[in-house]
C-alpha cells in the first residue's frame, strides 16, 4: 500500500460505477451485426467468392462507368470496408453510382494449404477479373487493392496491364525494408520452409502478431479509454463492431503465407525487381496506368514510407498519392477517413473515366 492509496480509494466508487456501466453496454452490444450493403455471390473459385454489390436505389446510375473490383488482404476479412452505414467505404462508392465487386478469400482449410501466391493472383484474382469483364463485356476494370490486397493488385496489374484501367491502393506496402517496419524486422529471421511444412497458420496467431506490435495500447489502453468521456451505447456498439473485425481473422494457407513472408518481407523482391509469379517477372515499371496511392501517416503495420516508396518503382506518369492523418485501421473506419477516402477515390476515378 502506497502513501497515496487513500486518495486513490476516493475514486474507486466512481470508477466502479463507470466500469459497471461500460460492462453492461458491452454485454448489450455483443449481438451487433456487421456489414450493411446488399450483395450477391456471382462467382467462386475454391474458398474464394466474388460478390457484386447491389446498386443503391437512390444512387445515380453512371452510364459507361467501368466496374470497380475491391481486392482485400488475405489476412483479414473485407467486411471492415462495409462495417455499418455511417462507416462504409463500400456504401459511399455505391452512392456515387459505381458498379462494385468485392473478393472474399474465405477460410482456407487443410485442403488449401498448398495454395500459393500464383493461385491467389492468377487463378482467384485473375478469375474474378475475367468474370467481371465477361459480364460487362469490357476490356478493363478499375482495381482497388487494400493492404496486402494492394500488393496482390500491384502484381496482377503488372502482369495484366490491359485488364486494369486504373489502380487504387490503400495502405499498401511496396518497400518492405524501410527502417521503421517492425513487422519486417521480426519476420526477417523466420524459416519459411519450416513454416510451410508446419501447415496453415491460424488467424489467431497472426492477430497476436499484430497486437504484439503495441501490446499495451492494443489490448488494454483502448478498453480503459471506454471509461473516458461520453461513451454511450452507440459508441460502444461502434467499438464492438471494430473489435469483432479485429479478432475475426481467417487462417492462412501455409504456402501462400510462407511465400509472402519470404518474397516480400524477407527478400523485398517487389522493389528489387526479382519477384516472379507463375514464371513471369513482376516488374512494377510495367504499371503505366493511372495510380492513386492512399496511405496512413500513423500506420504501425504498414509504415507510410513503405507505401510512399511506390512512386519510385512505377512506370505510370499519372501517379497521385496522399497520406491521411490516421492509423492503419483508422483508414477504413475512422470518421475522418470515412469521408475523405471515398471522396478522393470517387473524384480521382471520375476524372479518369
Amino acid at each position: 500500500m502506497t502513501p497515496f492509496a487513500t486518495d486513490a480509494e476516493a475514486l474507486f466508487p466512481e470508477l466502479a460505477r463507470r466500469i459497471a456501466n461500460t460492462l453492461a453496454r458491452l454485454r448489450q452490444a455483443r449481438g451487433v451485426t456487421v456489414g450493411c450493403s446488399a450483395k450477391r455471390a456471382v462467382w467462386n473459385c475454391g474458398k474464394t467468392t466474388l460478390y457484386q454489390y447491389l446498386p443503391l436505389g437512390e444512387a445515380p446510375a453512371r452510364a459507361g462507368a467501368r466496374p470497380v473490383l475491391i481486392c482485400f488482404a488475405l489476412v483479414n476479412r473485407p467486411y471492415v470496408l462495409d462495417l455499418q452505414p455511417d462507416r462504409s467505404l463500400v456504401r459511399r462508392l455505391l452512392v456515387a453510382g459505381l458498379s462494385l465487386y468485392l473478393i472474399d478469400w474465405g477460410d482456407p482449410d487443410d485442403a488449401d494449404r498448398c495454395l500459393d501466391l500464383e493461385d491467389y493472383i492468377e487463378r482467384h484474382l485473375g478469375g474474378c477479373v475475367r468474370h467481371i469483364l465477361d459480364s460487362h463485356a469490357g476490356e478493363a476494370l478499375d482495381l482497388l487493392g487494400v493492404c496486402q490486397g494492394g500488393v496482390l493488385s500491384l502484381c496482377y496489374t503488372a502482369l495484366h496491364r490491359r485488364r486494369v484501367a486504373n489502380l487504387v491502393t490503400l495502405t499498401t506496402p511496396v518497400d518492405f525494408h524501410t527502417p521503421d517496419n517492425l513487422l519486417s524486422k521480426w519476420v526477417r529471421g523466420l524459416d519459411t520452409e519450416l513454416l510451410m511444412r508446419s501447415g496453415n497458420v491460424p488467424g489467431e496467431v497472426l492477430n497476436g502478431l499484430f497486437l504484439s506490435l503495441m501490446p499495451l495500447r492494443l489490448t488494454q489502453h483502448k478498453y480503459v479509454r471506454l471509461l473516458t468521456g461520453n461513451c454511450d451505447q452507440r459508441a460502444v456498439e461502434d467499438f464492438v463492431r471494430m473489435e469483432r473485425w479485429i479478432f475475426d481473422s481467417p487462417p492462412q494457407a501455409a504456402v501462400a503465407l510462407a511465400q509472402f513472408l519470404r518474397w516480400f518481407y524477407q527478400e523485398n523482391r517487389l522493389v528489387r525487381g526479382t519477384l516472379r509469379i507463375g514464371g513471369r517477372r513482376v516488374d512494377l515499371g510495367e504499371i503505366r496506368q493511372p495510380v492513386l496511392n492512399l496511405y496512413a501517416l500513423e500506420d504501425h503495420i504498414v509504415p507510410p514510407a513503405a507505401s510512399a516508396a511506390m512512386q519510385r518503382y512505377l512506370g505510370s506518369a499519372d501517379y497521385t498519392s496522399c497520406g491521411i492523418d490516421t492509423g492503419h485501421i483508422g483508414m477504413y473506419v475512422s470518421r475522418k477517413a470515412a469521408h475523405e477516402i471515398p471522396a478522393r477515390i470517387i473524384s480521382w476515378l471520375r476524372d479518369r473515366q
Binding site: A5, L11, H160, L190, R280
Partner: protein, 265 residues
C-alpha cells in the same frame, strides 16, 4: 493460458473487464499523488518495483506479447508454461508395433521442447528489462505530471502516462537485433515442433493405410499442374480472339509466356 484474445469466441466484455482490472491495480499501486505530495518533492522511486513486477507479469502471461510462436502451443496438448509435463505422452513412442516412432524421433521432439523452454527463459529476461525500464521512465516523469485533484480524469491521465512509458520501453527493446533473432528462433523452434508432431501423426496414419499429408500434397501438385494446362487451353482461344480484335502490338509488359509442358509418360 486462454485470454480474451486467444479464444475463438469473441468476448469484448471479458477483454474490457481484464483491462479495467489492471487499471484498478495500477491505481492501487500508484495511488493518486496529490498536489501537496508532488510539491513536497516526493521521492516516487519506491513505486518502480511494484509497477515493474505487475507489468512483467502481464507481459509473461499475455499471449499477445508473444503470439507468433504460440502456434505450437495451440496444436499441442498443454500450455506454454507446462511443456514438460503436458507433452511427455506426446513425444513418447507411438503405441503401434509397426508404426511405433523410433527412439531417436522421440528424442528429437524432447530436444525441441527443451530448446523452446530455454528460449522462453531468454524471452522472460527481455520482459523483465522492458518492465523495469518502463517503471523507471514512469517514475521519472511522474514528478512533473503529479498534482491536481484526485479525480478520475487525472487518474486516466496518469494511466496515459504509464502506457506511453511502457510502450516506449517495449518498442526500444523489441526493435533490437537480439530480440528479433530470439523472436525468430522461438517461431522456428515452435514450427519445428509442430512438424515433428505431425511426423509422428503421419507414422500412425501410415500404419492404418490412410493417405499421408505428403501424399495428399503430391496429389495437389498434380492437380495444380492439370489446372494450369487446362487454363492455358481455355485461354488460348480467348487470347486469339482478343488478338484478332486488336491488331496492335502486345504491350511490353506482357511478353508471350513460354509453355514448358512435360512430355507425357
Amino acid at each position: 493460458m486462454e485470454t480474451p484474445f486467444t479464444s475463438a469466441a469473441f468476448k469484448p466484455d471479458a477483454a474490457f473487464a481484464s483491462a479495467a482490472e489492471r487499471f484498478f491495480e495500477l491505481l492501487k499501486t500508484v495511488g493518486m499523488p496529490s498536489a501537496a505530495a508532488a510539491g513536497a518533492g516526493r521521492d516516487w522511486s519506491s513505486l518502480a518495483g511494484p509497477l515493474a513486477g505487475q507489468f512483467e507479469q502481464w507481459l509473461k502471461t499475455s499471449q499477445s506479447a508473444g503470439a507468433w510462436f504460440a502456434a505450437a502451443n495451440a496444436a499441442s496438448p498443454g500450455p506454454a508454461a507446462g511443456f514438460g509435463a503436458a507433452q511427455a505422452g506426446f513425444f513418447g513412442p507411438l503405441p503401434l508395433g509397426a508404426g511405433a516412432a523410433p527412439q531417436q524421433d522421440a528424442q528429437r521432439g524432447w530436444d525441441l521442447v527443451a530448446r523452446l523452454a530455454q528460449l522462453q527463459g531468454q524471452l522472460a529476461s527481455h520482459w523483465s528489462e522492458i518492465a523495469n525500464t518502463a517503471a523507471r521512465r514512469f517514475v521519472a516523469r511522474l514528478g512533473a505530471a503529479a498534482g491536481g485533484a484526485p479525480t478520475l480524469d487525472n487518474a486516466l491521465q496518469l494511466y496515459e502516462l504509464w502506457v506511453s512509458c511502457a510502450e516506449e520501453s517495449y518498442a526500444a527493446t523489441v526493435r533490437r537485433d537480439d530480440f528479433c533473432r530470439l523472436q525468430a528462433e522461438l517461431a522456428n523452434t515452435s514450427a519445428a515442433l509442430l512438424v515433428e508432431q505431425r511426423r509422428h501423426a503421419e507414422t500412425l496414419v501410415r500404419a492404418f493405410g490412410l493417405p499421408t499429408r505428403n501424399e495428399v500434397d503430391a496429389l495437389y501438385a498434380q492437380l495444380k499442374d492439370l489446372r494450369r494446362q487446362l487454363a492455358e487451353l481455355t485461354d488460348a482461344p480467348r487470347t486469339r480472339r482478343a488478338g484478332a480484335q486488336r491488331p496492335a502490338a502486345r504491350p511490353a509488359g506482357n511478353p508471350p509466356r513460354k509453355r514448358t509442358r512435360k512430355p507425357r509418360a
